[in-house]
């Protein structure tokens, strides 16, 4: 169950990271903690970094170093205007997609109920 959930998250990880950065700039470990707090646990936490690198290459986010009192500097990421536009686009696509999947799932659960009422099943 947990593994399947993590696989689902992998497909939308870029969008989730953009959404987190849309709220405030974060560093890598902070993003993992925020995802976990929302119930989205990753099997491999380090998998966010290739995604962050890709988003940075696409000009959607940017990274910058902030000196830390606890030790060496931390790399924070923030959303760029292109990233805001992309997030809005993806959010719209996600709403349509999620609705379609919900309808499909609702349909199949209705089918299951119907099969339960089918006299041939008795």
């Amino acid at each position: 169950m947990e593994k399947h959930r993590s696989q689902l998250l992998k497909g939308v990880l870029d969008m989730c990271l953009l959404a987190l950065l849309g709220k405030e700039p974060c560093y890598g470990y902070e993003m993992v903690q925020k995802l976990a707090a929302s119930g989205l646990n990753l099997v491999s936490e380090g998998s966010i970094y290739p995604v962050l690198s890709r988003l940075q290459q696409q000009g959607l986010i940017e990274g910058y170093l902030v000196p830390s009192a606890e030790g060496p500097s931390r790399k924070y990421y923030r959303l760029l205007p292109a990233g805001e536009q992309q997030l809005a686009l993806w959010a719209g696509e996600w709403a349509d997609f999620a609705q379609a999947v919900s309808l499909l799932l609702k349909g199949s659960s209705d089918d299951i109920d119907l099969r339960g009422h089918d006299p041939r099943n008795r």
Partner: protein, 278 residues
């Protein structure tokens, strides 16, 4: 945090650094990636998470996945230098071995020598992916997959192949193709130095700041080792020893030459340094 966890983190970070350097990721990028990885691993261990939860079960797959979006596309010039520099370096090494082995300023080149090059050059192109995977020194690796054991076995197989082909060609195709004389060696040295210097200067993985004092000490040590092995070669003219001492002296001389070229090649100002200098 226990000392074992700190040592494991250090080991993982070092292995990833080696992998990324061998993958040709720019040095500024590698520094940022190492900083993030080190911080994430320490924070995860502090929170009681196993290290596998950060990197997964396969360290090499993790390092490769992160390297992929950060890879710099090789241009024509870089691809040419990436082949030309090791190729000319290898040729220079083999020529030096021949000069030393035959104790002569000129030597005959036959089909066996051409075959040696034809075997070594493609094998050299396979060396980088091999080194990349051997950089993964994860402790969970089984003993028979230890990188040094693998490298030694592969090296022994290459030597065996070279000896077999060399002997066969010397028997069946003993004809001399041409005579290689010392001016050619000089020209080769100049060409290899220029190509290697350009390759080093263009190398995006090269550290931004050089430790000149350490480099100078290393140069002196390698120069000393080269003189010592040349002395050994001169002192042991017995044919039973000449091949071994020729290989040893040529290896030291080539390493000294490489360090000298690196030392003499100025560092290219990178993005970070340009920003720091305002």
């Amino acid at each position: 945090m226990t000392s074992t966890s700190a040592a494991t983190i250090r080991e993982i970070v070092d292995a990833c650094e080696t992998y990324w350097v061998l993958s040709g990721i720019p040095r500024t990028q590698i520094n940022d990636m190492l900083l993030e990885l080190d911080h994430h691993l320490h924070a995860a261990v502090r929170d009681g998470k196993p290290i596998n939860q950060v990197i997964g079960d396969d360290l090499q797959a993790f390092a490769a996945a992160w390297a992929e979006p950060n890879r710099v596309a090789d241009g024509c010039r870089r691809a040419l230098l990436a082949w030309g520099s090791p190729g000319l370096g290898l040729l220079l090494y083999l020529v030096l071995v021949r000069h030393l082995r035959e104790r002569a300023f000129a030597f005959e080149v036959g089909w066996a020598d051409i075959a040696t090059l034809a075997i070594l050059l493609p094998l050299g192109s396979a060396a980088l992916p091999m080194l990349r995977s051997s950089a993964m020194l994860a402790p969970r690796r089984s003993w028979w997959r230890h990188p040094w054991l693998l490298l030694t076995t592969q090296w022994l197989l290459v030597v065996a192949l070279l000896v077999a082909v060399g002997l066969a060609l010397r028997i069946f195709a003993p004809a001399v193709i041409f005579v290689w004389s010392w001016p050619l060696t000089l020209l080769l040295l100049i060409a290899a130095s220029i190509t290697t210097s350009s390759f080093i200067r263009d190398d995006v993985t090269r550290p931004e700041v050089a430790d000149r004092r350490f480099d100078a000490r290393l140069l002196l040590a390698l120069g000393g080792a080269s003189l010592a092995t040349l002395g050994l070669w001169a002192a042991l003219p017995d044919p039973r020893w000449v091949l071994a001492t020729a290989f040893l002296a040529a290896s030291c001389l080539i390493t000294f030459w490489l360090q000298l070229v690196d030392w003499a090649t100025p560092h290219k100002p990178t993005r970070n340094r340009l920003l720091a200098e305002g």
